[in-house]
């Protein structure tokens, strides 16, 4: 089967004279499959957001092609189909909610798609239930916490019945409680609703939940693999000015001190506990 989102030799620069400008994306080749959960890591300015905006045609490549379910994103006639299939959640929870009540905000996407009114109501109910915000339907956005706002934004995507949701640092402005709420919702979307997830994040603890991790640097994809593969390459990551999860870094420091029995690919506290218990 073809990939849901396919990048073929994609390059992109924000200014038109490409020679003077550093390319924000360079020679990207990437396939994201239906149902996958992909995390994108990278230092500030490495091109993560630019990559994300190519996935629902908010930006189109300067050269190369992006296909969403086989549709070229440069095909202006099918733009709305693409926007419906790939939803996008942004970093600032305040600046993506449009309406004055939660239920109406969730309805905004389906309204734009021209969904008939009774069906919009059904979808709003359903989407709010998925993110656990049904009790807040008549609240206005400014009465909600950051995590709740992000969940409403996610519900707004679900109501459009997308195949993929791209989240651009959705937890960056949230407190720990909000982060947990949002990550639980994201995992639920992926596991239960079978929605493809692309999660851009700075938090390594979030990236380890993905099926695949992509690391970007200066507009290029420099590493890709399972979280375990990627995070075992501590030195490479350090060169890219990226951390590994705290527990992985602890394991590495222990190894350096001579505890050779500790593997270099520990990702979670439970794994660490198991290894340490075997020491007896």
């Amino acid at each position: 089967m073809d990939a849901l989102i396919r990048f073929v030799d994609v390059s992109f620069s924000y200014s038109s004279d490409a020679e003077h400008e550093l390319e924000a994306l360079a020679d990207i080749n990437l396939d994201i499959d239906d149902g996958e959960f992909v995390a994108v890591l990278g230092h500030n300015g490495s091109g993560k957001s630019t990559l994300a905006k190519h996935m629902n045609a908010l930006l189109v490549p300067t050269s190369g092609k992006v296909y969403v379910a086989g549709i070229d994103t440069q095909n202006a006639e099918r733009l709305w189909e693409i926007r419906q299939m790939v939803g996008m959640v942004f970093q600032n929870p305040d600046n993506q909610l449009v309406a004055t009540t939660v239920e109406e905000d969730v309805a905004f996407g389906p309204e734009n798609l021209g969904v008939p009114t009774p069906e919009i109501h059904r979808r709003v109910d359903e989407a709010l239930a998925v993110v656990g915000m049904s009790d807040y339907r008549l609240h206005s956005p400014h009465q909600l916490s950051g995590g709740q706002k992000q969940r409403v934004a996610i519900a707004g995507m679900i109501a459009m019945r997308p195949r993929c949701v791209v989240l651009d640092e959705p937890t960056a402005m949230l407190d720990p409680v909000g982060r947990r709420e949002v990550m639980q919702t994201v995992i639920k979307l992926n596991r239960e609703e079978k929605i493809t997830i692309v999660l851009i994040t700075h938090a390594m603890e979030e990236a380890i939940l993905a099926d695949r991790v992509i690391v970007m640097e200066e507009g290029r994809i420099v590493m890709t693999g399972t979280p375990r593969e990627v995070f075992s390459k501590v030195e490479t990551l350090a060169k890219l000015r990226l951390d590994v999860p705290e527990i992985t870094s602890l394991a590495n420091r222990l190894r350096q001190r001579g505890f050779d029995q500790i593997p270099n690919n520990i990702l979670t506290i439970e794994e660490m506990v198991n290894v340490l218990c075997q020491f007896g």
Binding site: L58, R83, M88, D94, Q96, V98, V124, H142, G156
Partner: protein
């Protein structure tokens, strides 16, 4: 900053009364009819009948009278000014002279008329916003303006702008308070000095506020586009307004009363 908290947009008082339940379009049109009445009427009897109409509506809406009257307070200055100007500036039979100010009979009558008109106007229109939520009001305005789209009235765009304004005013108020506190922590003083001094002290608040508002607008535009927004074309609505028989009856009743009172008094 206590002042900003008091600005409740639309001052809507939620309720279940028959007035609340009417279609927003009915209420908007009825308000316009009532305003028309105020400009048709030329006698005190007419104004008294207008006031009686309002009073009946207030009773039906079950909104406390003091809420309704509260709308007059911010405009008290204008009311008093209007009264004084008419009292003392109208030519005619002088009935009272205080120093150089001459109160004329004609001025007295005209002043009282104008002020009655003004007060009824304020109460009439605040009844609309008291009984209709801003969201429904926006929907109503959009729906009423729709026929004028052919002559270039951007009905949907206006409604969208109102919605976004309503959505972001609380956010911006919060942000202003945050910036003020931050500047106060650095020793800024917004309370003392003359008016120019105070105006100047607002600059360090307004600049970050504007910068952030523009950033918000930018991000919101991208988010709206990502959610498939492309203007009013082909858009369906979550909430559909229903003009019922009750609305028709209410509108006919108001229109009838306006014609009767407007042309007889």
């Amino acid at each position: 900053m206590a002042m900003m908290k008091n600005i409740t947009i639309g001052q809507y008082v939620p309720g279940e009364s028959i007035v609340h339940q009417l279609d927003p379009r009915t209420k908007i049109l009825a308000t316009f009819l009532f305003i028309a009445l105020l400009f048709l009427v030329e006698t005190f009897t007419g104004y008294a009948l207008g006031a009686l109409m309002l009073f009946v509506i207030v009773l039906l809406s079950r909104i406390p009278v003091k809420f309704v009257l509260r709308g007059i307070r911010p405009l008290m200055f204008i009311i008093v000014l209007t009264l004084c100007l008419h009292f003392f500036m109208t030519e005619g039979r002088v009935i009272l002279q205080i120093w150089f100010l001459k109160l004329t009979y004609e001025g007295l009558i005209r002043g009282l008329m104008m002020v009655s008109r003004l007060i009824l106007l304020i109460i009439g229109s605040s009844l609309l916003t008291l009984t209709t939520s801003p969201i429904l009001l926006t929907d109503g305005i959009e729906s009423l303006l729709k026929p004028f789209r052919a002559v270039g009235v951007p009905a949907h765009e206006l409604a969208m702008m109102m919605t976004i304004a309503l959505r972001f005013i609380p956010t911006l108020v919060e942000e202003t308070e945050k910036i003020m506190k931050a500047q106060m922590a650095r020793g800024a003083d917004f309370e003392s000095g003359n008016i120019f001094h105070r105006a100047k002290s607002l600059i360090p608040i307004l600049i970050p506020l504007f910068v952030s508002a523009f950033r918000r607008a930018d991000e919101l535009a991208v988010a709206m586009e990502a959610r498939g927004y492309r203007g009013g074309e082909g858009r369906t609505r979550f909430r559909v307004l229903k003009f019922t028989r009750r609305d028709a009856a209410a509108l006919i009743l108001v229109a009838g009363l306006v014609i009767l009172v407007g042309f007889c008094f």
